[in-house]
Subunit: 147 residues, 4 copies
């Protein structure tokens, strides 16, 4: 396949390749709601296996959702990128059964480094977590070899 | 049950209560290898459902392992504590099938705030990730009511 | 002095008290350009004493500017708050002689914890750094005693 | 000058070059107490211009001390490196007149990325702050051109 020239078409083509490979995100029941250049929105229901006895979602799954959103946003430009460092602030618990949405936005891209902010919200609009992550481009392309 | 007076016995008693409740950590196949006052060591095998097509572990599961280790370390003093903020640096990929170990150490505890460092290593001793997290004590006790 | 009822007037009154006390921010040549409820904007020129031989601003002064902006934003509600944890990503160097502006925005406030994002920009609009910090309210008030 | 073959001699030679250039660290009264491969220890007295009306050190100066320690540790291998991202947790205030010491230790170096932990302590041994930072190597050398 040739690399699409249109940024939106490129973002969607990259996401399709990634999604087919990403057993982990699919296994957690994530859905890819939207992808665009430097952006992605994923959602996930807090399932039985994600909670403790109090019905509160383990923070690892909230991080995983945000991390996946960053992965799709940072891989939307046609070049492979991986997470290097990320921080998350937990603002209110994720509850059993509710659907969480992670919206990733690119803040900066310079050289091989990318900076992304991801907000995780609940269905009632409450902010569950704020995530900020740094990615490194690997210098390889989705379509058509080395950069 | 009365609160054990010995710090090590208290840490073990708290861990027993938490573990019984923690469907999420057990569901990911984590094992609680050791717990002590302000310390905990957990391990987990990188299973089929945790990897992408390249056999690389999704960062969310590495974070989850480290976060669980912090949870056991921070809840070892008899008072409930929750994660408030955490950052993780990914140093080398977790590989399909390997067992990862997370060792949590308390760096500071002042007022209701705790600071924990968690190192995640592979079986060959390589450092997979360095995690640093902040917890907040809720002011409630495992054994015998409010503080 | 009685606590002003209007949030904007309160923010300005708190800032006035803080500014009079804040020898450090004034000593670095900072100017308080704007303050409002949960917001603050400060600016500072990169002076001779802030640079290395290459004319690049030491990161500590960029952090200090962002930290001061968070301090004014987090102390704008009439209650004393202090920085607990903060992270900064450096995106492009601060240059000798240029004026840097830090704009702090409140992302969340829950219990005694606050979350603030601060963007530091240069005169040409380029983003020099992105800062994210957490504050703790001390439970004491600027005007009229304990909460 | 030729690059010293001995790692300790190299670290000291790099530090000498940096120190001569670093007006900012010298201007804040920092002293370079020790440097070695991947390590550095700097100290600084909390001066009049660093405190607010309560005699508490502005967090920016504590960050600056830790950041300088990371700079000397990360530039100790003969290659130029710069700070990319750093986080600091403030554990107890720095007081007017006391000498703070920052000890930087290299946690990892892979490709062009470095990870450093810096602990800032007071004269009484109390931990004032824990700092963790990430550096990027620029690919240029102190002695003898490009890598």
């Amino acid at each position: 396949m040739t690399e699409p020239a249109d940024p939106q078409a490129l973002a969607e083509a990259c996401a399709e390749v990634m999604w087919a490979d990403d057993r982990a995100s699919r296994g957690l029941g994530m859905m890819l709601d939207h992808v665009g250049p430097g952006r992605a929105r994923l959602s996930m229901r807090v399932g039985d296996a994600m909670v403790n006895g109090l019905g509160i979602c383990h923070g690892g799954f909230i991080f995983a959702l945000a991390d996946s959103a960053m992965a799709f946003a940072s891989n939307s430009h046609g070049e492979h990128a991986v997470a290097q460092q990320a921080a998350i602030t937990f603002l209110r618990p994720g509850k059993h059964g509710e659907r969480l949405t992670a919206e990733a936005v690119e803040r900066a891209r310079a050289g091989r480094t990318g900076l992304y902010d991801v907000r995780v919200t609940a269905e009632d609009g409450a902010v569950v977590a704020e995530f900020r992550g740094h990615t490194r481009s690997l210098g390889t392309k989705f379509f058509g070899g080395e950069k």
